[in-house]
């Protein structure tokens, strides 16, 4: 394989992680990654310089935006994983809560937050991926964090003081 394809291959585990956190649906996430890869391979000749990884994040982020637009018209497709699962506690409850907290975010805020805290991209890189100025990335981050904080504190009032 050439250098380009090697870079693409090397990015797949991180893309899967990002896609899963974005969609919170394992199958939809891998579909997104597959679409991203197909598109990237198809456009290999268009890729001259820059960071392959950022480019892949850009494609995936855009494809997911389109996907959500479709899902909004098909409410029946709400992922089962988001259904209520009562009776959980401990780390599983924490995992469920953060999933729900992420689900409560506006898509652009969720993507910005995940790209920074999960994928370790710099503000500048996120600005390129989202096609917005750095200031916009920072305000998305701030809103996302405030929203998650409010969500987690509202969701589990008894635990708030224990921390």
């Amino acid at each position: 394989m050439n250098a380009f394809r090697n870079s693409v291959q090397a990015a797949i585990p991180a893309l899967r992680r990002y896609a899963r956190a974005l969609t919170r649906d394992a199958e939809a996430a891998d579909d997104l990654v597959q679409d991203t890869l197909v598109r990237a391979l198809r456009s290999e000749h268009l890729f001259h310089e820059g960071d392959v990884r950022s480019w892949l994040y850009t494609i995936l982020t855009n494809l997911n935006r389109n996907r959500l637009r479709t899902l909004a018209r098909r409410p029946a497709l709400t992922p089962i994983e988001e259904a209520d699962t009562p009776g959980m506690s401990g780390p599983e409850a924490g995992a469920r809560d953060i999933e729900r907290a992420l689900a409560s975010l506006v898509e652009d805020q969720r993507a910005a937050l995940l790209l920074v805290v999960l994928e370790g991209l710099s503000y500048r890189e996120v600005a390129e991926v989202q096609g917005v100025p750095i200031g916009t990335v920072m305000s998305r981050l701030a809103r996302a964090r405030a929203q998650i904080k409010a969500y987690l504190e509202g969701e589990r009032p008894p635990l708030r003081r224990i921390k």
């Binding site: 394809r5 890869l37 503000y123």
Partner: protein
């Protein structure tokens, strides 16, 4: 150190948490946090969020990558399907992005549509392949009647691909309810060993799509959209064998000789 007493902005707190703050500003932020417990609590909450997110999703990057995401395989497999499928998909995507013309017909829309279609097809497959006495409504021995009937009911040409060359005999077919009230055709094939495969066909709006593999336990399927029709080839979960069958169905659907002249 002229800024020593200037208030630290929230933006700087985020930058501090994310390692984006210039090194020379860090001591000032630390000093600020030591004296402002509310800001310190916010920063701690943000860091805890990041930990929760990483605890929940971090391990996914350690999982083995599914075969369908292998780059070499995608690059190879794509060529065969690329001319129609990928080109159309890209064209739709670009047009959709630039003009917003396509609306619901974007690539992602088609992808979601195919997922619904595939789920329907796999359900039908599971329901009917186990039938001993009534697996189909019209038997394969009446192929001409079957095809004519399905085409008439569905309002477009339905073909029963000839899978004899790869060892599959047509058992027959049936009409099914499809998504949003439109009908769907289910054709069943049987291997000499008794394994059954189905070809499901229903209306699908949206552009042509790439071939997709879906595994659902012991059953798996390949699906694609072509010429406003969605196709799903389902059978026992054996990727290579299913691919061969799907490829044959695809090729026959795209052979003009297979369609009635005029």
């Amino acid at each position: 150190m002229a800024n020593r007493d200037a208030p630290i902005l929230e933006a700087e707190l985020h930058a501090y948490v994310d390692g984006e703050l210039p090194a020379e500003r860090r001591p000032a932020v630390r000093a600020w946090l030591a004296e402002h417990p509310e800001d310190a609590a916010r920063v701690a909450a943000w860091q805890a969020q990041a930990e929760l997110i990483n605890a929940r999703y971090g391990a996914i990057a350690q999982e083995p990558v599914p075969l369908r995401l292998d780059v070499a395989r995608l690059a190879r497999g794509e060529r065969r399907w690329s001319i129609l499928a990928i080109a159309a998909v890209l064209a739709a995507f670009v047009l959709g992005g630039v003009a917003g013309w396509f609306g619901r017909e974007t690539w992602a829309g088609a992808v979601a549509g195919v997922r619904v279609l595939t789920a329907d097809a796999i359900d039908a497959h599971k329901l009917y392949v186990v039938e001993v006495r009534h697996p189909v409504e019209v038997a394969g021995t009446e192929q001409a009647h079957l095809v004519q009937w399905l085409s008439k009911r569905l309002g477009y040409d339905v073909h029963a691909p000839d899978l004899g060359p790869i060892g599959l005999k047509l058992v027959g077919g049936r009409l099914l309810p499809g998504a949003s009230g439109a009908g769907a055709a289910l054709l069943m094939y049987e291997a000499p060993s008794g394994e059954r495969f189905t070809v499901y066909c229903a209306r699908a709006d949206g552009p042509e799509s790439a071939l997709r593999y879906h595994a659902a336990g012991s059953v798996a399927a390949f699906s694609w959209v072509d010429d406003n029709k969605g196709f799903v080839v389902s059978g026992p979960a054996d990727r290579d064998r299913l691919l061969k069958i799907a490829q044959s169905v695809y090729d026959q659907e795209n052979t003009p000789a297979d369609k009635k002249p005029g």
